[in-house]
Subunit: 324 residues, 2 copies
């Protein structure tokens, strides 16, 4: 039902997206059949394609040329995919979105180099655009994502962190790549600088709302919706916004500390999730996500009034409120 809704928003620019999808497939062509197969399977396993969609729509605010836009959209999606493959190596994950991971099929060593290969290809493709600015944005994004991942490790299991620590982390982890998707879409299409800046900010705010919603779903989603048991982030030591607010609640705090300390059994986790779902911690987190969403919508409304602006707005609303 939710996925259908996203599909119907996407249908307006289906042809353009299909072109990017073909370019994505073409981008992983390689002398090694194992490498190419692994990449094609990764691409085929889907995902919401949020980043390419934003790059595509952002390009419409300039002189839209599908093959130029693809040269920005494809590298961004490849970076995203590389980070997923590398995460699966570390997390020793055998399944992602219900499909077997590269790691589980080809082993850790192959998955490591599949990830590195995707990063390399992404920088090769962006290099075909003769723009230092575009190059700079992409390599910066890649770096900041890594810094974000390292900070996330440093902050793990640290119960006494504040809202700012969390926001700084999700900015690097998620919002930046979405922000860069919007910025680069505008840049490569030659949109005017003021529009590019608005697109960049729009992407940043959407990305923040997107990640907070993701973190909320870890507490409020069902195993069926999530494709994995709820509460997994918390048990892995990732202290997200609902947990930060929850730790301030005298009723929730002991449960959360136990969960972080590894001392909560399955029944305890179920009890914690039940308490969380009806808590102020969740309501307050939703409020923060909504604030970012509103900021995103305000940026979008300041963009030139073209039909694609409405698509941007509809997608932003959708991903801020989604259930998967």
């Amino acid at each position: 039902m939710e996925k259908l809704k996203l599909k119907s928003i996407y249908s307006e620019f289906r042809t353009d997206l299909e072109f990017i999808e073909r370019e994505l497939n073409r981008s992983v062509h390689s002398a090694s059949p194992m490498l190419e197969d692994a990449c094609l399977a990764l691409i085929g396993s889907g995902g919401k394609r949020i980043r390419p969609v934003f790059t595509l729509l952002a390009s419409k605010f300039g002189d839209y040329n599908p093959s130029v836009t693809a040269k920005a959209a494809v590298p961004l999606e490849l970076i995203h995919m590389a980070s997923l493959v590398h995460d699966d190596v570390i997390d020793d994950a055998d399944l992602r979105r219900g499909e077997r991971t590269v790691k589980s099929i080809h082993g850790n060593r192959a998955a490591m180099y599949v990830g590195d290969f995707l990063l390399g290809r992404s920088l090769e493709i962006i290099g075909e655009l003769d723009s230092q600015e575009v190059h700079r944005v992409l390599s910066r994004t890649m770096i900041e994502i890594c810094v974000g991942e390292i900070i996330q490790i440093e902050d793990k299991f640290a119960a006494e962190q504040n809202l700012r620590d969390y926001l700084r982390r999700i900015k690097r982890k998620t919002a930046l790549l979405i922000s860069s998707s919007c910025e680069l879409g505008g840049l490569v299409a030659g949109a005017d600088p003021a529009t590019v800046r608005k697109l960049k900010r729009f992407g940043y705010y959407v990305g923040m709302s997107f990640q907070i919603t993701d973190d909320l779903l870890d507490f409020t989603g069902t195993e069926k919706q999530l494709g994995k048991p709820a509460g997994g982030d918390l048990l892995a030591g990732n202290i997200t916004l609902p947990a930060i607010y929850g730790l301030r609640d005298p009723e929730l705090r002991p449960y959360l500390l136990d969960a972080l300390g590894g001392g909560l059994d399955k029944a305890g986790v179920a009890k914690l999730l039940g308490l969380m779902r009806n808590s102020e911690a969740i309501r307050e987190s939703v409020r923060i996500s909504d604030l970012y969403l509103e900021k995103a919508l305000r940026e979008a409304e300041a963009l030139p009034d073209i039909p694609d602006r409405d698509s941007l707005i509809r997608i932003a609303k959708f991903i801020g409120k989604r259930k998967f």
Copy 2:
């Protein structure tokens, strides 16, 4: 003794190398102290700096400018370091060159992102040079290294491979990065195209000789020289040139097959190494390495006659004959 010899060759351009070393340290500056510390420790643990030295000397064949050369040398060394860090994650290695690895100090997840960060930084720095050609060479090199690693996995434990499989693999794994170090050194200094092509070929041949020597040392080196037990590559399933020739020898073949099948105990490995050391397989491998070295020297001798040409030649001779 051997290390001292290398140091004395390097002393001729020590000031330039120290500048690159400082730029290398500066390149890993980051908002995360853990990330920066891990990178600085990596840089500090040394290595022969073969690649930066070649980039530096190659630059002397054009208009040499230290800070421009560093923008090529640093990214190449960062790519090399990234591949070492990622190898340590996969090999679960706690020590490299006698020092604790990033993985062993900060864990696998951090090591993964330290590697990705180094790749990102390398592409950011090369992007500061406004040359699509330079950018293309670097991203291509990065990709081919990954393809090489994947092919190495595909070829693992495959006893019936031939010389061409091996050469193709070490080209991607080692020779290409050394070749690119020479090529980019010439390119960024604006050396003429014919000279750049010679430098590139010189690096390729040196790289091939370098890797064959490395693979020989796995059979002929002592644990003290290698910093790890001899025969390790073979036991890990990496079939190198001496092994390919050894498999054609009726006396050595059963030992090698047993080693690859995991059915050789410590005494068996010692016996195999003893037989190998005096075998035609080793002599023939040395011959191939020497052929590449000769080709490298021929390219070098065709380069413009400047003092740095002699340094190139001396280093090439050294690394083709080294004992560590």
